[in-house]
Protein backbone atom coordinates (compact mmCIF):
# COMPACT_ATOMS: atom_id res chain seq x y z
CA UNK A 1 0.00 0.00 0.00
CA UNK A 2 1.22 3.43 -0.80
CA UNK A 3 1.98 5.77 2.04
CA UNK A 4 -1.13 7.57 3.26
CA UNK A 5 -1.42 11.30 3.11
CA UNK A 6 -2.32 12.99 6.38
CA UNK A 7 -5.70 14.18 5.07
CA UNK A 8 -6.94 10.76 4.00
CA UNK A 9 -9.78 8.81 5.61
CA UNK A 10 -10.77 5.17 5.13
CA UNK A 11 -12.96 4.61 2.06
CA UNK A 12 -16.50 5.87 2.56
CA UNK A 13 -15.85 7.58 5.90
CA UNK A 14 -16.95 11.19 6.11
CA UNK A 15 -16.48 14.18 8.38
CA UNK A 16 -19.45 16.20 9.53
CA UNK A 17 -18.45 19.85 9.57
CA UNK A 18 -20.25 22.43 11.75
CA UNK A 19 -22.83 23.65 9.25
CA UNK A 20 -23.85 20.14 8.24
CA UNK A 21 -23.74 18.99 11.86
CA UNK A 22 -26.14 21.73 12.87
CA UNK A 23 -28.60 20.89 10.14
CA UNK A 24 -28.35 17.18 10.83
CA UNK A 25 -28.85 17.84 14.52
CA UNK A 26 -31.98 19.90 13.89
CA UNK A 27 -33.50 17.28 11.61
CA UNK A 28 -32.67 14.54 14.07
CA UNK A 29 -34.23 16.50 16.95
CA UNK A 30 -37.46 17.17 15.06
CA UNK A 31 -37.85 13.51 14.11
CA UNK A 32 -36.83 12.27 17.56
CA UNK A 33 -39.35 14.58 19.23
CA UNK A 34 -42.08 13.27 16.94
CA UNK A 35 -41.18 9.69 17.76
CA UNK A 36 -41.20 10.43 21.48
CA UNK A 37 -44.61 12.08 21.22
CA UNK A 38 -45.93 8.86 19.71
CA UNK A 39 -44.58 6.97 22.72
CA UNK A 40 -41.44 5.43 21.24
CA UNK A 41 -38.59 5.20 23.75
CA UNK A 42 -35.01 5.68 22.60
CA UNK A 43 -32.36 3.07 23.28
CA UNK A 44 -28.70 2.58 22.44
CA UNK A 45 -26.91 -0.64 21.61
CA UNK A 46 -23.18 -1.35 21.19
CA UNK A 47 -21.36 -0.43 18.01
CA UNK A 48 -19.69 -3.84 17.99
CA UNK A 49 -21.67 -7.07 17.89
CA UNK A 50 -20.76 -10.70 17.32
CA UNK A 51 -20.56 -11.75 13.70
CA UNK A 52 -22.12 -15.11 14.52
CA UNK A 53 -25.26 -13.64 16.08
CA UNK A 54 -26.20 -10.13 14.99
CA UNK A 55 -23.93 -10.20 11.94
CA UNK A 56 -25.53 -13.39 10.66
CA UNK A 57 -29.09 -12.26 11.48
CA UNK A 58 -28.71 -8.97 9.68
CA UNK A 59 -29.80 -8.85 6.06
CA UNK A 60 -26.73 -6.93 4.91
CA UNK A 61 -24.50 -8.85 2.52
CA UNK A 62 -21.46 -10.45 4.10
CA UNK A 63 -18.93 -8.57 2.00
CA UNK A 64 -20.42 -5.30 3.21
CA UNK A 65 -19.70 -6.07 6.87
CA UNK A 66 -16.71 -4.52 8.62
CA UNK A 67 -15.19 -7.39 10.58
CA UNK A 68 -12.55 -7.55 13.28
CA UNK A 69 -11.32 -10.00 15.89
CA UNK A 70 -11.47 -9.69 19.67
CA UNK A 71 -8.78 -11.04 22.00
CA UNK A 72 -10.46 -14.46 22.20
CA UNK A 73 -10.51 -14.75 18.44
CA UNK A 74 -14.26 -14.17 18.04
CA UNK A 75 -15.25 -12.33 14.90
CA UNK A 76 -16.96 -9.02 15.59
CA UNK A 77 -18.85 -6.73 13.23
CA UNK A 78 -19.52 -3.02 13.23
CA UNK A 79 -23.32 -3.05 13.32
CA UNK A 80 -24.63 -2.89 9.74
CA UNK A 81 -28.17 -2.00 10.85
CA UNK A 82 -30.12 -1.39 14.06
CA UNK A 83 -32.95 -3.84 13.56
CA UNK A 84 -30.89 -6.93 14.37
CA UNK A 85 -29.35 -5.49 17.60
CA UNK A 86 -32.78 -4.37 18.76
CA UNK A 87 -34.22 -7.80 18.01
CA UNK A 88 -31.42 -9.23 20.15
CA UNK A 89 -32.16 -6.92 23.10
CA UNK A 90 -35.88 -7.42 22.76
CA UNK A 91 -35.73 -11.21 22.61
CA UNK A 92 -33.38 -11.46 25.58
CA UNK A 93 -34.77 -8.71 27.85
CA UNK A 94 -37.62 -6.46 26.88
CA UNK A 95 -40.30 -8.89 25.78
CA UNK A 96 -40.44 -10.97 28.97
CA UNK A 97 -43.87 -9.58 29.87
CA UNK A 98 -45.27 -10.41 26.44
CA UNK A 99 -46.55 -6.87 25.87
CA UNK A 100 -46.14 -4.54 22.91
CA UNK A 101 -42.89 -2.55 23.14
CA UNK A 102 -42.21 0.67 21.21
CA UNK A 103 -38.55 1.53 20.73
CA UNK A 104 -36.68 4.19 18.80
CA UNK A 105 -33.04 4.76 17.93
CA UNK A 106 -30.76 7.10 16.11
CA UNK A 107 -27.38 5.59 15.46
CA UNK A 108 -24.59 5.23 12.96
CA UNK A 109 -24.45 2.00 11.00
CA UNK A 110 -21.59 0.68 8.92
CA UNK A 111 -21.60 -0.88 5.47
CA UNK A 112 -18.40 -1.23 3.51
CA UNK A 113 -18.39 0.24 0.04
CA UNK A 114 -18.10 -2.19 -2.80
CA UNK A 115 -17.81 0.18 -5.67
CA UNK A 116 -16.91 3.76 -6.36
CA UNK A 117 -17.70 6.71 -4.12
CA UNK A 118 -20.94 8.58 -3.76
CA UNK A 119 -22.01 6.35 -0.93
CA UNK A 120 -20.94 6.65 2.67
CA UNK A 121 -19.74 3.52 4.48
CA UNK A 122 -20.92 4.97 7.79
CA UNK A 123 -24.25 6.76 8.02
CA UNK A 124 -26.88 7.60 10.56
CA UNK A 125 -30.25 5.93 10.68
CA UNK A 126 -33.12 7.15 12.79
CA UNK A 127 -36.00 4.75 13.20
CA UNK A 128 -38.53 2.92 15.33
CA UNK A 129 -39.49 -0.66 16.02
CA UNK A 130 -42.89 -1.67 17.37
CA UNK A 131 -42.26 -5.12 18.77
CA UNK A 132 -44.57 -7.96 19.79
CA UNK A 133 -47.59 -6.26 18.19
CA UNK A 134 -48.84 -7.94 15.06
CA UNK A 135 -51.92 -5.96 14.08
CA UNK A 136 -52.23 -4.09 10.79
CA UNK A 137 -53.00 -1.01 12.90
CA UNK A 138 -49.42 -1.16 14.04
CA UNK A 139 -48.11 -1.38 10.45
CA UNK A 140 -50.24 1.68 9.74
CA UNK A 141 -48.92 3.42 12.82
CA UNK A 142 -45.31 3.14 11.70
CA UNK A 143 -46.17 4.40 8.20
CA UNK A 144 -48.13 7.31 9.68
CA UNK A 145 -45.25 8.11 12.02
CA UNK A 146 -42.79 8.01 9.12
CA UNK A 147 -44.97 10.42 7.15
CA UNK A 148 -45.53 12.69 10.13
CA UNK A 149 -41.76 12.82 10.76
CA UNK A 150 -40.95 13.66 7.13
CA UNK A 151 -43.61 16.38 7.10
CA UNK A 152 -42.31 17.93 10.28
CA UNK A 153 -38.79 18.32 8.92
CA UNK A 154 -40.28 20.19 5.98
CA UNK A 155 -39.62 17.69 3.20
CA UNK A 156 -41.46 19.26 0.26
CA UNK A 157 -42.28 16.20 -1.80
CA UNK A 158 -42.20 12.53 -0.96
CA UNK A 159 -44.04 9.28 -1.43
CA UNK A 160 -44.29 6.02 0.46
CA UNK A 161 -44.75 2.89 -1.66
CA UNK A 162 -46.20 -0.15 0.06
CA UNK A 163 -45.92 -3.77 -0.95
CA UNK A 164 -46.38 -7.16 0.67
CA UNK A 165 -43.85 -9.97 0.72
CA UNK A 166 -46.59 -12.59 0.83
CA UNK A 167 -48.42 -11.65 -2.34
CA UNK A 168 -45.77 -12.37 -4.97
CA UNK A 169 -44.56 -15.36 -2.99
CA UNK A 170 -48.02 -16.98 -2.83
CA UNK A 171 -48.74 -16.16 -6.45
CA UNK A 172 -45.47 -17.76 -7.56
CA UNK A 173 -45.98 -20.85 -5.42
CA UNK A 174 -49.52 -21.32 -6.63
CA UNK A 175 -48.65 -21.03 -10.31
CA UNK A 176 -45.18 -22.57 -10.32
CA UNK A 177 -45.60 -25.20 -7.61
CA UNK A 178 -42.07 -25.44 -6.29
CA UNK A 179 -39.99 -23.12 -4.19
CA UNK A 180 -37.06 -23.45 -6.56
CA UNK A 181 -39.03 -22.19 -9.53
CA UNK A 182 -40.55 -19.40 -7.44
CA UNK A 183 -37.09 -18.32 -6.30
CA UNK A 184 -35.86 -18.12 -9.89
CA UNK A 185 -38.68 -15.75 -10.76
CA UNK A 186 -38.35 -13.74 -7.56
CA UNK A 187 -34.70 -13.14 -8.37
CA UNK A 188 -35.71 -11.16 -11.45
CA UNK A 189 -38.04 -9.00 -9.36
CA UNK A 190 -35.32 -8.47 -6.80
CA UNK A 191 -32.88 -7.47 -9.52
CA UNK A 192 -35.52 -5.14 -10.99
CA UNK A 193 -35.01 -6.94 -14.29
CA UNK A 194 -38.49 -6.80 -15.81
CA UNK A 195 -37.21 -7.73 -19.25
CA UNK A 196 -35.71 -10.90 -17.82
CA UNK A 197 -38.86 -11.56 -15.77
CA UNK A 198 -41.06 -11.39 -18.86
CA UNK A 199 -38.70 -13.56 -20.91
CA UNK A 200 -38.54 -16.11 -18.11
CA UNK A 201 -42.34 -16.20 -17.71
CA UNK A 202 -42.78 -16.67 -21.44
CA UNK A 203 -40.28 -19.51 -21.51
CA UNK A 204 -42.20 -21.49 -18.87
CA UNK A 205 -44.60 -24.31 -19.69
CA UNK A 206 -47.72 -22.55 -18.47
CA UNK A 207 -51.20 -21.74 -19.72
CA UNK A 208 -51.49 -18.30 -21.25
CA UNK A 209 -53.82 -17.30 -18.40
CA UNK A 210 -51.19 -18.16 -15.82
CA UNK A 211 -48.57 -16.28 -17.82
CA UNK A 212 -50.80 -13.24 -17.92
CA UNK A 213 -51.29 -13.43 -14.15
CA UNK A 214 -47.55 -13.48 -13.59
CA UNK A 215 -46.97 -10.62 -16.02
CA UNK A 216 -49.70 -8.51 -14.47
CA UNK A 217 -47.83 -8.51 -11.17
CA UNK A 218 -45.48 -5.94 -12.72
CA UNK A 219 -48.39 -3.56 -13.26
CA UNK A 220 -49.71 -3.66 -9.72
CA UNK A 221 -48.81 -0.19 -8.63
CA UNK A 222 -50.94 2.84 -7.92
CA UNK A 223 -53.69 3.76 -5.48
CA UNK A 224 -56.53 1.81 -3.91
CA UNK A 225 -57.55 0.34 -7.28
CA UNK A 226 -54.50 -1.93 -7.09
CA UNK A 227 -56.29 -4.01 -4.43
CA UNK A 228 -59.05 -4.91 -6.87
CA UNK A 229 -56.60 -5.72 -9.64
CA UNK A 230 -54.59 -7.88 -7.29
CA UNK A 231 -57.70 -9.82 -6.25
CA UNK A 232 -58.39 -10.50 -9.93
CA UNK A 233 -55.15 -12.37 -10.49
CA UNK A 234 -55.24 -14.67 -7.48
CA UNK A 235 -57.05 -17.96 -7.28
CA UNK A 236 -57.92 -20.47 -4.56
CA UNK A 237 -57.40 -17.88 -1.87
CA UNK A 238 -53.62 -18.05 -2.17
CA UNK A 239 -52.17 -14.60 -1.73
CA UNK A 240 -55.52 -13.42 -0.44
CA UNK A 241 -54.27 -12.96 3.08
CA UNK A 242 -51.77 -10.39 1.80
CA UNK A 243 -54.52 -8.53 -0.03
CA UNK A 244 -56.78 -8.56 3.03
CA UNK A 245 -53.96 -7.05 5.06
CA UNK A 246 -53.30 -4.38 2.44
CA UNK A 247 -57.00 -3.52 2.23
CA UNK A 248 -57.12 -3.20 6.00
CA UNK A 249 -53.94 -1.12 5.91
CA UNK A 250 -55.49 1.20 3.35
CA UNK A 251 -58.44 1.75 5.71
CA UNK A 252 -56.04 2.53 8.55
CA UNK A 253 -54.13 4.93 6.30
CA UNK A 254 -57.35 6.68 5.31
CA UNK A 255 -58.27 7.10 8.97
CA UNK A 256 -54.88 8.75 9.51
CA UNK A 257 -55.73 10.96 6.52
CA UNK A 258 -52.40 10.32 4.79
CA UNK A 259 -53.55 8.45 1.67
CA UNK A 260 -52.20 11.26 -0.54
CA UNK A 261 -48.62 10.32 0.32
CA UNK A 262 -49.10 6.58 -0.09
CA UNK A 263 -49.15 4.25 -3.09
CA UNK A 264 -49.18 0.50 -3.48
CA UNK A 265 -46.50 -1.34 -5.38
CA UNK A 266 -46.83 -5.10 -5.18
CA UNK A 267 -43.65 -5.71 -7.14
CA UNK A 268 -41.44 -4.36 -4.34
CA UNK A 269 -39.19 -7.09 -3.07
CA UNK A 270 -36.74 -6.02 -0.45
CA UNK A 271 -33.12 -7.02 -0.12
CA UNK A 272 -33.93 -7.37 3.56
CA UNK A 273 -34.61 -11.08 3.61
CA UNK A 274 -36.20 -11.04 7.06
CA UNK A 275 -39.34 -9.16 6.04
CA UNK A 276 -42.44 -11.31 6.43
CA UNK A 277 -45.43 -9.11 5.57
CA UNK A 278 -46.19 -5.52 4.67
CA UNK A 279 -43.12 -3.57 3.60
CA UNK A 280 -42.56 -0.04 2.35
CA UNK A 281 -40.04 2.42 0.97
CA UNK A 282 -39.99 6.22 1.10
CA UNK A 283 -38.82 8.32 -1.85
CA UNK A 284 -38.13 12.03 -2.08
CA UNK A 285 -37.62 14.26 -5.08
CA UNK A 286 -34.01 15.04 -6.06
CA UNK A 287 -32.55 11.98 -4.34
CA UNK A 288 -31.85 8.92 -6.46
CA UNK A 289 -32.04 6.42 -3.61
CA UNK A 290 -34.86 5.64 -1.13
CA UNK A 291 -34.60 7.87 1.94
CA UNK A 292 -36.11 5.29 4.22
CA UNK A 293 -37.69 1.87 4.35
CA UNK A 294 -39.42 -0.48 6.71
CA UNK A 295 -41.87 -3.30 7.16
CA UNK A 296 -42.95 -6.25 9.24
CA UNK A 297 -40.35 -8.84 10.08
CA UNK A 298 -39.87 -12.05 12.02
CA UNK A 299 -36.22 -11.48 12.87
CA UNK A 300 -36.82 -11.77 16.62
CA UNK A 301 -37.34 -15.51 16.11
CA UNK A 302 -33.68 -15.86 15.20
CA UNK A 303 -32.91 -14.70 18.73
CA UNK A 304 -35.15 -17.32 20.29
CA UNK A 305 -38.51 -15.66 20.87
CA UNK A 306 -41.62 -16.07 18.78
CA UNK A 307 -42.80 -12.57 17.97
CA UNK A 308 -43.03 -10.26 15.01
CA UNK A 309 -42.37 -6.57 14.84
CA UNK A 310 -42.73 -3.70 12.45
CA UNK A 311 -40.60 -0.63 12.05
CA UNK A 312 -38.77 1.72 9.75
CA UNK A 313 -35.44 3.48 9.40
CA UNK A 314 -34.77 6.82 7.76
CA UNK A 315 -31.32 7.53 6.37
CA UNK A 316 -30.33 10.93 7.66
CA UNK A 317 -27.72 11.41 4.92
CA UNK A 318 -30.32 10.86 2.19
CA UNK A 319 -32.83 13.05 3.99
CA UNK A 320 -30.26 15.83 4.25
CA UNK A 321 -29.68 15.49 0.54
CA UNK A 322 -33.41 15.84 -0.08
CA UNK A 323 -33.51 18.92 2.16
CA UNK A 324 -30.50 20.51 0.46
CA UNK A 325 -32.42 23.61 -0.46
CA UNK A 326 -33.77 24.21 3.02
CA UNK A 327 -31.48 26.84 4.54
CA UNK A 328 -30.90 27.25 8.23
CA UNK A 329 -31.38 30.68 9.69
CA UNK A 330 -28.15 32.21 10.98
CA UNK A 331 -28.84 33.60 14.44
CA UNK A 332 -25.25 33.79 15.60
CA UNK A 333 -24.20 36.97 17.39
CA UNK A 334 -20.57 37.90 17.99
CA UNK A 335 -19.38 40.10 20.85
CA UNK A 336 -15.93 41.54 20.13
CA UNK A 337 -14.16 42.87 23.17
CA UNK A 338 -10.88 44.38 24.24
CA UNK A 339 -9.27 44.10 27.66
CA UNK A 340 -10.85 47.27 29.02
CA UNK A 341 -14.41 46.12 28.56
CA UNK A 342 -13.95 42.39 28.95
CA UNK A 343 -16.15 42.14 32.03
CA UNK A 344 -18.96 44.01 30.32
CA UNK A 345 -18.71 41.64 27.35
CA UNK A 346 -18.86 38.58 29.60
CA UNK A 347 -21.93 39.94 31.32
CA UNK A 348 -23.66 40.59 28.01
CA UNK A 349 -22.85 37.09 26.80
CA UNK A 350 -24.14 35.59 30.03
CA UNK A 351 -27.37 37.51 29.66
CA UNK A 352 -27.80 36.38 26.05
CA UNK A 353 -27.01 32.76 26.87
CA UNK A 354 -29.58 33.00 29.65
CA UNK A 355 -32.14 34.00 27.03
CA UNK A 356 -31.17 31.01 24.95
CA UNK A 357 -29.41 33.14 22.34
CA UNK A 358 -26.26 32.13 20.53
CA UNK A 359 -23.47 34.56 21.46
CA UNK A 360 -19.78 34.14 20.68
CA UNK A 361 -17.15 35.92 22.77
CA UNK A 362 -14.18 37.00 20.70
CA UNK A 363 -11.13 38.95 21.85
CA UNK A 364 -10.65 41.54 19.11
CA UNK A 365 -6.88 41.03 19.12
CA UNK A 366 -7.35 37.34 18.22
CA UNK A 367 -8.79 37.95 14.73
CA UNK A 368 -6.53 38.75 11.81
CA UNK A 369 -9.19 39.46 9.17
CA UNK A 370 -12.07 41.17 10.92
CA UNK A 371 -14.22 41.60 7.80
CA UNK A 372 -14.13 37.95 6.83
CA UNK A 373 -14.83 36.84 10.38
CA UNK A 374 -17.72 39.28 10.88
CA UNK A 375 -19.47 37.92 7.79
CA UNK A 376 -20.07 34.65 9.58
CA UNK A 377 -22.44 36.25 12.03
CA UNK A 378 -25.92 37.60 11.81
CA UNK A 379 -25.12 40.42 14.22
CA UNK A 380 -22.18 41.87 16.12
CA UNK A 381 -21.48 44.04 19.15
CA UNK A 382 -18.15 45.79 19.70
CA UNK A 383 -17.13 46.45 23.30
CA UNK A 384 -13.75 47.99 22.71
CA UNK A 385 -11.58 50.73 24.19
CA UNK A 386 -12.53 53.10 27.01
CA UNK A 387 -15.97 52.39 28.49
CA UNK A 388 -18.92 54.19 26.94
CA UNK A 389 -17.84 54.40 23.29
CA UNK A 390 -18.44 51.42 21.05
Amino acid sequence: MSRLFMFEKPLGMRDTLPELYEKKHQIRSVIAETMKLWGYQFIETPTLEYYETVGAASAIADQQLFKLLDKEGNTLVLRPDMTAPIARVAASKLLSEDLPVRLAYSANVFRAQQREGGRPAEFEQIGVECLNEDTVSCDGETIALLISSLKKVGLPQFQVSIGHVGFAQELFMQILGTNGRATALRKFLYEKNYVGYREHVNSLQLSSIDKQRLLQLLQLRGGEEVIGKALDIIENGKGKQAIIELQELWDVIKDYGIEEMVKFDLSIVSHMSYYSGILFEAYAGNVGFPIGNGGRYSLIEKFGRKATATGFAVRLDMLLEALKEVQLENTAHCIFFSGERRKEAFQLAEKMHGQGKLAVLQDITGVKNLDAFTKRFNDTTFLIGGSGNE
Binding site: G118, P156, Q157, Q159, S161, K192, N193, Y194, V195, G196, R198, E199, V201, N202, K211, Q212, L215, R221, G222, K263, D265, E281, Y283, A284, G285, N286, V287, G288, F289, P290
Partner: protein, 220 residues
Protein backbone atom coordinates in the same frame (compact mmCIF):
# COMPACT_ATOMS: atom_id res chain seq x y z
CA UNK B 1 -40.37 18.70 -8.16
CA UNK B 2 -40.67 19.28 -11.87
CA UNK B 3 -42.08 16.57 -14.02
CA UNK B 4 -39.42 16.74 -16.71
CA UNK B 5 -37.57 13.59 -17.58
CA UNK B 6 -33.81 13.44 -17.90
CA UNK B 7 -32.72 10.69 -20.27
CA UNK B 8 -29.16 9.41 -20.40
CA UNK B 9 -28.20 8.32 -23.89
CA UNK B 10 -25.09 6.53 -25.08
CA UNK B 11 -23.02 8.38 -27.66
CA UNK B 12 -22.41 6.69 -30.96
CA UNK B 13 -24.29 4.08 -32.89
CA UNK B 14 -26.92 3.28 -30.28
CA UNK B 15 -27.76 6.97 -30.04
CA UNK B 16 -28.88 7.14 -33.68
CA UNK B 17 -31.09 4.11 -33.35
CA UNK B 18 -32.53 5.24 -30.03
CA UNK B 19 -33.29 8.66 -31.46
CA UNK B 20 -35.14 7.04 -34.33
CA UNK B 21 -37.17 4.96 -31.88
CA UNK B 22 -38.12 8.02 -29.86
CA UNK B 23 -39.18 9.89 -32.99
CA UNK B 24 -41.24 6.92 -34.13
CA UNK B 25 -42.84 6.90 -30.70
CA UNK B 26 -44.05 10.41 -31.44
CA UNK B 27 -41.58 12.47 -29.46
CA UNK B 28 -40.78 15.64 -31.33
CA UNK B 29 -37.06 16.12 -31.05
CA UNK B 30 -35.22 19.07 -32.59
CA UNK B 31 -33.10 18.27 -35.68
CA UNK B 32 -29.97 19.74 -34.08
CA UNK B 33 -29.80 16.49 -32.13
CA UNK B 34 -28.29 14.45 -34.84
CA UNK B 35 -24.99 16.20 -35.21
CA UNK B 36 -24.56 18.11 -32.02
CA UNK B 37 -21.46 18.05 -29.88
CA UNK B 38 -23.33 19.28 -26.86
CA UNK B 39 -23.46 16.97 -23.88
CA UNK B 40 -26.82 18.22 -22.65
CA UNK B 41 -29.67 18.80 -25.09
CA UNK B 42 -33.06 20.16 -24.13
CA UNK B 43 -36.28 19.18 -25.83
CA UNK B 44 -38.35 21.66 -23.86
CA UNK B 45 -41.56 21.15 -25.81
CA UNK B 46 -41.61 17.50 -24.81
CA UNK B 47 -40.38 18.13 -21.27
CA UNK B 48 -37.31 16.02 -21.97
CA UNK B 49 -33.65 16.62 -21.35
CA UNK B 50 -31.00 14.38 -22.85
CA UNK B 51 -27.54 13.84 -21.50
CA UNK B 52 -25.01 12.17 -23.76
CA UNK B 53 -22.72 9.78 -21.96
CA UNK B 54 -20.21 7.05 -22.67
CA UNK B 55 -22.23 3.84 -23.14
CA UNK B 56 -20.53 2.23 -20.14
CA UNK B 57 -21.57 5.15 -17.90
CA UNK B 58 -25.27 5.37 -18.69
CA UNK B 59 -26.32 2.99 -15.92
CA UNK B 60 -24.20 4.94 -13.43
CA UNK B 61 -26.03 8.20 -14.13
CA UNK B 62 -29.36 6.46 -13.78
CA UNK B 63 -28.47 4.63 -10.59
CA UNK B 64 -27.43 7.86 -8.90
CA UNK B 65 -30.66 9.48 -10.05
CA UNK B 66 -29.09 12.36 -12.00
CA UNK B 67 -30.86 10.85 -14.99
CA UNK B 68 -34.35 9.40 -14.53
CA UNK B 69 -34.19 7.11 -17.50
CA UNK B 70 -31.42 5.71 -19.67
CA UNK B 71 -30.76 3.60 -22.70
CA UNK B 72 -28.05 1.08 -22.04
CA UNK B 73 -26.76 -2.09 -23.62
CA UNK B 74 -27.41 -5.34 -21.78
CA UNK B 75 -23.62 -5.81 -21.79
CA UNK B 76 -23.29 -2.68 -19.64
CA UNK B 77 -26.03 -3.82 -17.27
CA UNK B 78 -24.41 -7.23 -16.84
CA UNK B 79 -20.99 -5.71 -16.23
CA UNK B 80 -22.04 -2.91 -13.93
CA UNK B 81 -24.88 -4.55 -11.96
CA UNK B 82 -26.43 -1.22 -11.12
CA UNK B 83 -29.55 -0.90 -8.99
CA UNK B 84 -31.93 0.23 -11.74
CA UNK B 85 -35.14 -1.07 -13.29
CA UNK B 86 -34.69 -2.75 -16.63
CA UNK B 87 -38.13 -2.11 -18.08
CA UNK B 88 -38.02 -2.69 -21.79
CA UNK B 89 -35.98 -4.49 -24.42
CA UNK B 90 -35.68 -1.91 -27.20
CA UNK B 91 -34.30 -4.57 -29.55
CA UNK B 92 -31.86 -2.14 -31.10
CA UNK B 93 -28.13 -2.62 -31.70
CA UNK B 94 -28.21 -6.42 -31.47
CA UNK B 95 -24.90 -8.15 -30.81
CA UNK B 96 -23.55 -10.67 -28.33
CA UNK B 97 -20.77 -11.25 -25.87
CA UNK B 98 -18.42 -14.06 -26.82
CA UNK B 99 -15.19 -15.77 -25.89
CA UNK B 100 -12.64 -15.62 -28.69
CA UNK B 101 -8.99 -16.43 -29.26
CA UNK B 102 -6.45 -17.65 -31.78
CA UNK B 103 -7.66 -20.75 -33.66
CA UNK B 104 -6.75 -24.21 -32.36
CA UNK B 105 -5.28 -23.02 -29.10
CA UNK B 106 -5.77 -24.21 -25.54
CA UNK B 107 -5.82 -21.97 -22.52
CA UNK B 108 -2.70 -21.97 -20.38
CA UNK B 109 -3.21 -24.66 -17.73
CA UNK B 110 -1.42 -22.97 -14.88
CA UNK B 111 -2.66 -19.44 -15.26
CA UNK B 112 -5.23 -19.02 -18.02
CA UNK B 113 -5.47 -15.35 -18.92
CA UNK B 114 -8.49 -13.58 -20.33
CA UNK B 115 -8.48 -9.98 -21.54
CA UNK B 116 -11.72 -8.02 -21.57
CA UNK B 117 -13.45 -4.70 -21.28
CA UNK B 118 -15.98 -6.67 -19.20
CA UNK B 119 -13.98 -8.10 -16.30
CA UNK B 120 -17.04 -8.95 -14.20
CA UNK B 121 -18.91 -10.69 -17.00
CA UNK B 122 -15.76 -12.58 -18.01
CA UNK B 123 -15.01 -13.72 -14.48
CA UNK B 124 -18.59 -14.78 -13.79
CA UNK B 125 -18.76 -16.69 -17.04
CA UNK B 126 -15.57 -18.70 -16.52
CA UNK B 127 -16.43 -19.33 -12.88
CA UNK B 128 -19.79 -20.76 -13.98
CA UNK B 129 -17.83 -23.07 -16.33
CA UNK B 130 -15.83 -24.25 -13.35
CA UNK B 131 -12.68 -22.47 -14.41
CA UNK B 132 -10.59 -19.98 -12.52
CA UNK B 133 -9.01 -17.50 -14.87
CA UNK B 134 -6.97 -14.36 -14.49
CA UNK B 135 -8.68 -11.33 -15.93
CA UNK B 136 -6.78 -8.51 -17.59
CA UNK B 137 -8.87 -5.39 -18.00
CA UNK B 138 -8.45 -3.50 -21.27
CA UNK B 139 -10.35 -0.48 -22.53
CA UNK B 140 -10.47 -1.15 -26.25
CA UNK B 141 -8.90 -3.03 -29.18
CA UNK B 142 -9.26 -6.16 -27.11
CA UNK B 143 -8.40 -8.30 -30.17
CA UNK B 144 -4.78 -7.28 -29.74
CA UNK B 145 -4.37 -9.22 -26.53
CA UNK B 146 -4.17 -12.80 -27.93
CA UNK B 147 -2.29 -11.61 -31.04
CA UNK B 148 0.65 -10.31 -29.09
CA UNK B 149 0.55 -12.85 -26.30
CA UNK B 150 -1.07 -10.85 -23.51
CA UNK B 151 -3.87 -13.37 -23.02
CA UNK B 152 -5.14 -16.77 -24.19
CA UNK B 153 -8.71 -15.60 -24.69
CA UNK B 154 -10.74 -12.45 -24.87
CA UNK B 155 -14.32 -11.72 -23.87
CA UNK B 156 -15.80 -9.05 -26.09
CA UNK B 157 -18.81 -7.77 -27.97
CA UNK B 158 -19.32 -9.34 -31.37
CA UNK B 159 -21.79 -7.91 -33.87
CA UNK B 160 -20.80 -9.00 -37.36
CA UNK B 161 -17.72 -10.97 -36.44
CA UNK B 162 -15.67 -9.05 -38.96
CA UNK B 163 -13.16 -7.60 -36.53
CA UNK B 164 -12.41 -11.07 -35.18
CA UNK B 165 -11.99 -12.50 -38.66
CA UNK B 166 -9.76 -9.72 -39.94
CA UNK B 167 -7.48 -10.24 -36.99
CA UNK B 168 -7.34 -13.99 -37.41
CA UNK B 169 -9.33 -14.79 -34.27
CA UNK B 170 -12.13 -17.31 -33.88
CA UNK B 171 -15.13 -17.38 -31.62
CA UNK B 172 -15.06 -20.17 -29.02
CA UNK B 173 -18.25 -19.68 -27.03
CA UNK B 174 -21.21 -17.38 -27.19
CA UNK B 175 -21.97 -15.99 -23.72
CA UNK B 176 -25.13 -13.95 -24.01
CA UNK B 177 -27.17 -11.97 -26.54
CA UNK B 178 -27.15 -8.21 -26.14
CA UNK B 179 -29.63 -5.50 -27.12
CA UNK B 180 -30.28 -2.04 -25.73
CA UNK B 181 -32.62 -1.69 -22.78
CA UNK B 182 -34.68 1.09 -21.29
CA UNK B 183 -33.56 1.51 -17.68
CA UNK B 184 -35.11 3.61 -14.94
CA UNK B 185 -33.99 4.93 -11.56
CA UNK B 186 -36.05 3.29 -8.77
CA UNK B 187 -37.06 6.62 -7.21
CA UNK B 188 -38.03 8.18 -10.54
CA UNK B 189 -39.98 5.00 -11.32
CA UNK B 190 -42.21 5.85 -8.35
CA UNK B 191 -42.25 9.65 -8.30
CA UNK B 192 -42.57 10.19 -12.05
CA UNK B 193 -44.62 7.07 -12.72
CA UNK B 194 -47.12 8.69 -15.09
CA UNK B 195 -44.48 10.04 -17.44
CA UNK B 196 -42.38 6.92 -17.32
CA UNK B 197 -45.35 4.61 -17.91
CA UNK B 198 -46.25 6.72 -20.92
CA UNK B 199 -42.72 6.53 -22.30
CA UNK B 200 -42.65 2.77 -21.82
CA UNK B 201 -46.02 2.29 -23.50
CA UNK B 202 -45.14 4.43 -26.49
CA UNK B 203 -41.73 2.87 -26.98
CA UNK B 204 -43.15 -0.58 -26.52
CA UNK B 205 -45.66 -0.03 -29.30
CA UNK B 206 -42.88 1.02 -31.66
CA UNK B 207 -40.68 -1.90 -30.68
CA UNK B 208 -43.54 -4.37 -31.16
CA UNK B 209 -44.36 -2.90 -34.59
CA UNK B 210 -40.74 -3.34 -35.55
CA UNK B 211 -41.76 -6.79 -36.79
CA UNK B 212 -40.64 -8.55 -33.69
CA UNK B 213 -41.58 -12.18 -33.58
CA UNK B 214 -40.80 -12.25 -29.89
CA UNK B 215 -43.79 -13.40 -27.95
CA UNK B 216 -43.07 -11.48 -24.79
CA UNK B 217 -43.59 -8.15 -26.47
CA UNK B 218 -47.31 -8.73 -26.50
CA UNK B 219 -47.44 -9.15 -22.82
CA UNK B 220 -46.15 -5.96 -21.37
Amino acid sequence: MNNNLTIAMPKGRIFEEALELLRKAGYKLPPEFDDSRKLIIEAAAEGLRFILAKPMDVATYVEHGVADVGIAGKDVLLEEERDVYELLDLKISPCYLAVAGLPNTQMNEVAPRVASKYPNVAEAYFRAQGEQVEIIKLNGSIELAPLIGLSDRIVDIVSSGRTLKENGLVEYERIVDVTSRLIVNPVSYRLKDTRIDELVTRLHEVVAEGGSSDENSKNI
